[in-house]
Amino acid sequence: MDTVDQHTDSVSTGTAAVSVTVAEEAPPRRSRNETLYFAFRNRKLVIGLSVVTFFLLLAIVGPWLTDATPFEFGYPTGEPPSREYWLGTTAPGQDVFAQFVYGLRSSFVVGALAGCVAAAIGMTVGFVGGYRGGAVDEILSVLTNVVLVIPTLAVLIIVAAYLSVQSLLAEAVLIGVTSWPWAARAIRAQTFSLASRDFISVARLSGQTGWKIVAKEIAPNMSSYLFLVFILLFGGSVLIAATLDFLGLGPSQVMSLGLMLNNAVSGSALQLGMWWWFIPPGVGITAIVGGLYVMNVGLDEVFNPKLRET
């Protein structure tokens, strides 16, 4: 038992050492095929991915399917869904379908951008803290813990109220710079455990700089994990953006799903019984976020055989 363990251990360091010297040669083709095989067999991943893809396509193609623009008035008021107005019209006479597809676009844009910003900050803080250790790590984790405890939404409400956000980009950046802490924490823990492995020591001995080791050795070894973190940040950002828009703190010139809900509430869609006004935006948000979450679990099972259903 013991000798076998040692043997596999030396093999794995051996291959790692090879990959250091013969950098980026021979991509692991067989394992990629294997990953794809498990990916398509994983029901969660397939369901999540199809839901997200469906709404993504709708967000891209949707605006071409209708002549109406989201803020345009002059349609019949409070009309239920019909062949002409697929999702009906709002009480003041706007086309719900147009608002919905443009809103979907905003959700994807803000979610992706905010996810990127948060992932970038989280990765920087996590890698530096986990790899460098010492005082730098200590300072960074105090910073992380402080930002972690402060409720994101509270900060966003007060900042957005003063700034009066007028673009999706500004909204995304705001969300991104407040929602990174848990990602930083998770990435730090992973980096920390990777940094003590033999192949990192080998890389260090071969004289590579810290940044190179992080970029070429550590990050690729946890790329699947980083991707999962990004997906969760994406989904979380979509929800936070919807909440901000609902509070009337998002850009008022850009239609979003949260703004639709805001309009529905202030336009008394409930009292008027106009369910078609507030159902679509919520379906959109829930489907995107839920699809991403389920996709995340599916991917996790694909990457990590231990979690696969037995």
Partner: protein, 328 residues
């Protein structure tokens, strides 16, 4: 034990300090002057507005050096003075928040505690039980992905407007005055239920998923295999798995607090429930900055206190933190 709590308290104190500083800095750093927008809304003529500008600048102490303003800010804070409200003329921010907070807490505390307990139970039951897992899990995913305000809208539409089982808005019937009577209690509960249910359901989904995954993880571990090979009944094995899985869930509780609070705010808005959320939406609509800043501080303070309570509970549940052994 004391070292663990001391370290945590130090972080919370630092967080509070940072939060207060943010609260102080944001209005002063942001482009646009709140006083200008305040005067703009009063629609005074130019000479009067200049007078007003001087008056407001002086009365808010904005003409003093920054460090002095900062000290004054802290002093006001310790005296519970968060400034006057602009939206509700004649009331102070502290007063407004104190009247709103009981309603928000009445929603939040039961929703957090009950969803945590129920979610953990159901999640643990679903783990590694095929049929239960296949029914509970999809529902939990949909619930946790729902924006709070949307679930609130659906519940309000179906249960209050269509079926008329519950009242639609407010915290109690308008014909009643708050009092310790059975009639008032009944009206209060009826109004309370839907917002509570909204918060409960969304949070429940998250806990159930988390617990299910953790239990599966625990059931794969060495000690479970060992127990099973000894022929331990599966009830016992699950019991051990549960007490191990509760720990990460508990640290998750601290993380989730901020989200649930945000959920409570938007849920209150949908139901017109007179808590902090309704205050916020008014404050946003009339740009009542003092009120927003005060609410911000109260939310931070509340979340910090809640975090501290969770930490104490964690020390009680996890013996390792008591003896100073570092857990994994």
């Amino acid at each position: 034990m004391s070292r663990y709590l001391l370290r945590k308290s130090a972080i919370y104190l630092l967080t509070f300090f940072v939060a207060v500083s943010i609260d102080f800095a944001i209005p002063r750093l942001m482009p646009g002057n709140p006083i200008d927008s305040l005067i703009g809304r009063l629609q005074a003529d130019s000479t009067a507005s200049q007078e007003l500008h001087g008056f407001f600048t002086e009365s808010f102490g904005l003409d003093e050096p920054l460090w002095k303003q900062y000290l004054t800010f802290w002093r006001g804070l310790f005296h519970g003075d968060l400034g006057p409200s602009i939206a509700y003329v004649g009331s102070s921010v502290t007063e407004l928040i104190w009247t709103a907070i009981p309603y928000t807490l009445a929603l939040l505390v039961p929703a957090i505690v009950l969803s945590y307990i129920a979610g953990n139970r159901v999640g643990a039951m679903a783990a590694r039980r095929k049929t239960l897992d296949n029914t509970v899990l999809p529902v939990a995913y949909v619930l946790t992905a729902m924006p709070y305000m949307w679930l609130a809208l659906i519940l309000a539409y179906v249960l209050a407007f269509r079926l008329q089982i519950f009242p639609v808005s407010g915290a109690y019937d308008f014909s009643l005055q708050p009092a310790w009577t059975l009639e008032f209690a009944r009206s209060f509960l009826a109004h309370w239920f839907l917002p509570f249910l909204t918060l409960f359901l969304v949070a429940f989904g998250g806990w159930a998923i988390g617990m299910r995954n953790l239990i599966i993880y625990e059931l794969e571990s060495e000690y479970t295999n060992y127990l099973q090979s000894l022929g331990a009944p599966s009830r016992l094995v699950r019991k051990y798995a549960y007490s191990n899985a509760v720990l990460p869930q508990m640290s998750g509780l601290a993380l989730a607090l901020g989200l649930v609070v945000g959920g409570a705010l938007v849920t209150e808005i949908v139901f017109g429930y007179p808590g902090i959320g309704s205050l916020i939406i008014t404050a946003i609509q009339v740009r009542d900055y003092f009120l927003l800043q005060g609410i911000f501080l109260f939310i931070i303070l509340g979340v910090l206190i809640a975090n501290f309570i969770v930490d104490i509970a964690y020390v009680i549940v996890d013996p390792r933190t008591r003896t100073g052994i570092q857990g994994s």
